[in-house]
């Protein structure tokens, strides 16, 4: 009696074609490379800049601390998509014309550096005060103390948080498609508009994201254990 519900007219395209799937797979795999490069490059920027922001917020200079803290709050409170648009489309009005890749990396790196700075901050705060006092007793400078003592001890407890944002940045790379970075979603869209078949392309994109995200959590845990052992902690 519900036959009408499953009539072909309702689902005209609901047929999965394996031959077509194999045909588009090489293009998707190529785009996966771009997605991974975008995630890795953005993450590297965020790792470095995040630490800089975290250290700046602990500096003696109240002005620097204030400016960086407000900047971090601002970036965290506005959408990544807006930031991508701003850098790519508004930048040229101020004479800053950047390629989609460069704009995308700056936007995503900057955005995530603000999140990572909070993770670093937690790690830096977790180092006991006694370590600073021991460093003063050895007459070390502040820079030496950070480099040799505080940062190495702040990293292991920060790894789970840092790792979560690695997965986060990976899953946010599709936003770069809006400015034309040829990552997975962008490529899937292109495939879809060429053939009017979206099912296989989007499904495979989902499968690829899942296949890469799922093992990541385990790998991050293993990495944390490795770092802790290396540091004898």
């Amino acid at each position: 009696m519900f036959d009408w519900l499953f009539m072909d007219e309702w689902f005209p395209k609901f047929d999965w074609r394996w031959d077509y799937t194999w045909e588009i797979l090489p293009r998707l795999i190529e785009a996966t490379g771009n997605t991974l490069i975008a995630a890795a490059a953005g993450y590297l920027i965020a790792l470095v800049l995040g630490l800089v922001f975290a250290l700046a917020q602990r500096s003696q200079s109240r002005v620097l601390t204030f400016v960086v803290r407000e900047f971090v709050e601002f970036v965290r409170s506005t959408p990544l998509l807006l930031q991508i648009f701003f850098i790519f489309y508004v930048g040229p009005q101020f004479g800053i014309t950047l390629s989609p890749w460069v704009s995308g990396m700056i936007a995503i790196g900057l955005h995530y550096s603000c999140y990572l700075s909070e993770v670093y901050r937690g790690g830096l705060d977790s180092v006991p005060k006694g370590q600073w006092e021991a460093a003063i007793a050895l007459n070390m400078t502040t820079a030496q103390t950070y480099k040799r003592l505080i940062i190495p001890q702040a990293i292991p407890p920060a790894i789970p948080g840092l790792g979560n944002y690695l997965i986060g940045i990976f899953k946010d790379t599709p936003m770069l498609s809006v400015i034309g970075v040829a990552e997975l979603i962008h490529t899937a869209n292109a495939i879809g508009s060429e053939t009017w078949r979206y099912l296989e392309a989007y499904t495979m994109v989902g499968v690829i994201f899942l296949a890469l995200s799922l093992p990541a959590a385990g790998l991050i845990r293993a990495f944390e254990g490795f770092v802790r052992r290396r540091l004898g902690m």
Binding site: P128, A134, A137, N139
Partner: protein, 271 residues
Amino acid sequence: MEDLSGFPLEIVGENSPMVSFKKVRKSYGSLVVLDDLDLDVAAGEMVSVIGPSGSGKTTVLRMLMTLEKINGGVIYVDGKPLTHMDKGGKLLLANDKHLRTRRSDIGMCFQHFNLFPHMTAIQNCMEGPVQVLGLSKAEARDRGEELLELVGMIDKKDQHPSRLSGGQQQRVAIARALAMRPKVMLFDEVTSALDPEVIGEVTNVIRKLVSEHNLTMLMVTHQMGFARDISDRVCFFYGGKIEEQGPPAELFGNPKRERTQQFLSAVKEAV
């Protein structure tokens, strides 16, 4: 700003003290921790500081290590001001650069050791000499091994602190401080966090330092017997001041002040 014109720019003379507190004041808000403290420690002298908690005894060491800012008075080390610097004949509060030059004469061991957990025992001892004194790694390693030998920790030199007992960690911490070749060593309740059965291994190291090395030492301790054994002088602190001081035999055997007597009998009962 405080008028420091009455304080000398330098303490000279044959018998000038290694450490000199002159009218040193320290307070946290309205709580006065050190109240116009005068204390001289001669070169090579071992001075123990005892007293009830909150009497300011640990603050004395922390001020000398420049871990706390001074609120009044001047501290001199080896005749020259530590907490202040001489700017055209006037004493001004020391800046970071001045502190870094002057505190190189001072080493400190802490109640909770504060070893660097991500470094092995020998790396802990090499860190200061390499980073601060600019020694080569080979020189620093030689020096570190020599000192780990002295404290009896040479066979554990490649262990991380997490693998060492409290007594062993404290001995490494002593070696780490000595590796900087300080003139003055500060021991801040170094046995308080230790299990009773390992206290001896740390006190024996300090005994050895007293008998074999010409170090000036200031020690805050709750080990009355130990203080009595090895000190040249014992200072009893009460309310941010030295209530009574003297040679250990005198202070422990025949305390003059009532508060000293009360404190010592309270401590005796606790044992």
